[in-house]
Amino acid sequence: MSHGEMTVEEVKKHIKKYYVVFGALLCLTIVTVGISYLHLPTLQAIILAMAVASMKGGLVAAYFMHLIDEKKIIYSMLWLTLVLFAFCMLIPLFTLHGSFN
């Protein structure tokens, strides 16, 4: 475990961090719902909503899932996954715009 040798003090510090992240997540949830009531043009709405979601996702991954200090092997595996995930997200592009050009 990356946190195998944590002292009680360190754990307490971590717990404080969790509460801060919790607060941030709640705020961002309110922000994203709030934005949706503005009825922005579709493209801007999508970009904003995905930006906020990515921030929230980033916080969860970084602090709750401890990705902020993880071992190299996990990172390398996740980078690989991320690249393949990106390929997978090209499928809409290929499906919708691959034809006739």
Binding site: M1, S2, M6, L26, T29, S36, A49, M65
Partner: protein, 199 residues
Amino acid sequence: MSALIPYIDEPHPVTGVTNAKLGIWLFLASEVMLFGALFSTLIIMRSSATDWPAHGSDVLNVPLATLNTVFLIASSVTIVLSWAALKMKDLKKFKLNMGLTILLSFGFLVIKYIEYSSKFHHEHFPSTSTFYAVYFTLTGLHGLHVVGGIIANSYLLGPGSKMWFTEPERFTGRIECAGLYWHFVDLVWIFLFPALYLL
């Protein structure tokens, strides 16, 4: 038998992780690809659909879903706190937090049930339109992941927690893995929520 398998409770000196942790991350990597394909589908369906609602809020219940978001985020906090409690050798606090996690997940499912039944009540089924097809399939699969999490977490809270007295390190590792899975379920919802309800 498993006694001879090394690095169950201590990290491998070279990789720095335990078997279970590497395993759960590999599993989550595959889950990333699963939801990647589903999000691809969502984008395609939305781009080519003729009757996609202009705003998800026109057809879906945003306040309920927001509450559900809060539930899941809160459960993510409680499960990480339950792990921290084990780190401080506090089994009671672990049980409290894990119990809260399960309670919150049930809350999530109850709200999901209310949402679904009101949709069915208004004769909105997966076959109604591509929007509902995507909505039911994606939230349904996510819901199955929640159910899976509840089963795993309940086991760890109940009979599984006996391991704390024999192999505390290994048990803490298990809770960490359960937490990683649960955070992932939360993470998926964080993207599903705006994609379906808010856009």
